[in-house]
Symmetry: C2
């Protein structure tokens, strides 16, 4: 019983629900009330019930939520068990930070390969992922299709490479380039990580803080 | 004529307004209608008028917005001209990516110093910023007060270091550690960059795309 259109605010909260429930699960907590879950997340119990009602019926009056079950349901909703694969374009500082320190698999994503143009990088391996020359992109993706392309390249290359990824069947771009991509292909989604927007929001909040 | 309480959705859009207006300004555009600005941002004209009305009266009927003026106004609202200073804690891959590739000054922030515990890093300089030992943090901040602390450290050190920053007068934490910080000091704000939440939101959107 999923609603047709889930608001983007709810979508933004889903990963937080997953993270909190996963922490509770790893801490051995078996069940939790919507009140307690709300307190730990800075939300009201009714907000939580309303958010989750977008996806079905969870929890029981007087019992609360079974942590392991709800964690599993949210993991399903988020598509974590779909076996999404990804490639990363741009093995500079940020790309290598993601390769070496970010746990893609904890989000249900397998990073199969990375690409760059710099001769000293091509052929190297970071955290078990090989760096190929970007000229090999189409050939590689024809043999190892990927759903997700991680863009950690300079601005100037972003749109061109995004277009090549989409032409190869990539359905989601995780965009770290701080520009808005110009993608018109139907069924392709872009998730932006705009560092500058985030820092500016912090600057605003500091100026407004009591 | 600023409203008392601006919604977080509007706050999130302000940096995007700034970015779009800055691009227009750099491209030599002098004025723009709310319709045209909306189209380029994927918002309606009335949404834009409503957002900006939170902060005052901008634009003129039949003329639209003066790009340079509106960019300046939004820059003021965002606190970009307040001369915020920042320190960065954790000069691993991600910290170095920010030091070397992210333009703090374009957000009106001056990064004065960085800190780590690793002997090979301490004493080095990246993009003109020196890495100090984290034992020097309190001494450094007493001489060079900072408003913002950038946290690019391992999970295990995050809360402890955030506490030390706040004790030294830092008012905003830019948190890349993927955990929610436990900060109760009044007037201190936290802006999270949760990579995993972002990737999970992308995974969800891919699963839901038509």
């Amino acid at each position: 019983m999923r609603k047709d259109k889930v608001s983007s605010a709810v979508i933004r909260r889903l990963p937080r629900y997953y993270r909190h429930l996963n922490d509770l699960y790893l801490a051995g907590v078996e069940r939790i009330s919507s009140n307690a879950l709300g307190r730990s997340m800075g939300l009201t119990a009714s907000q939580i019930r309303q958010d989750l009602s977008c996806f079905g019926e969870f929890g029981q009056q007087g019992y609360g939520y079974n942590v392991e079950n709800l964690r599993g349901e949210i993991s399903d909703i988020l598509g974590m068990k779909r076996g999404h694969t990804a490639v990363l374009l741009g093995a500079g500082n940020l790309g290598r930070a993601l390769l070496e320190n970010f746990h893609f698999e904890r989000s249900g994503v397998t990073l199969t390969g990375a690409f760059d143009v710099a001769p000293p990088l091509v052929g190297q391996e970071f955290a078990g992922v090989s760096i190929h020359h970007v000229d090999q992109l189409e050939d590689y993706l024809s043999r190892h299709p990927a759903m997700i392309g991680v863009l950690t390249v300079p601005h100037s290359a972003a749109n061109r490479l995004a277009g090549r990824l989409v032409a190869c069947g990539v359905k989601g771009i995780w965009n770290f380039t701080n520009i808005e991509l110009d993608i018109s292909a139907p069924g392709v989604v872009v998730e932006n990580v705009h560092f500058a927007d985030s820092l500016l929001a912090l600057s605003y909040m500091i100026s407004e803080a009591p």
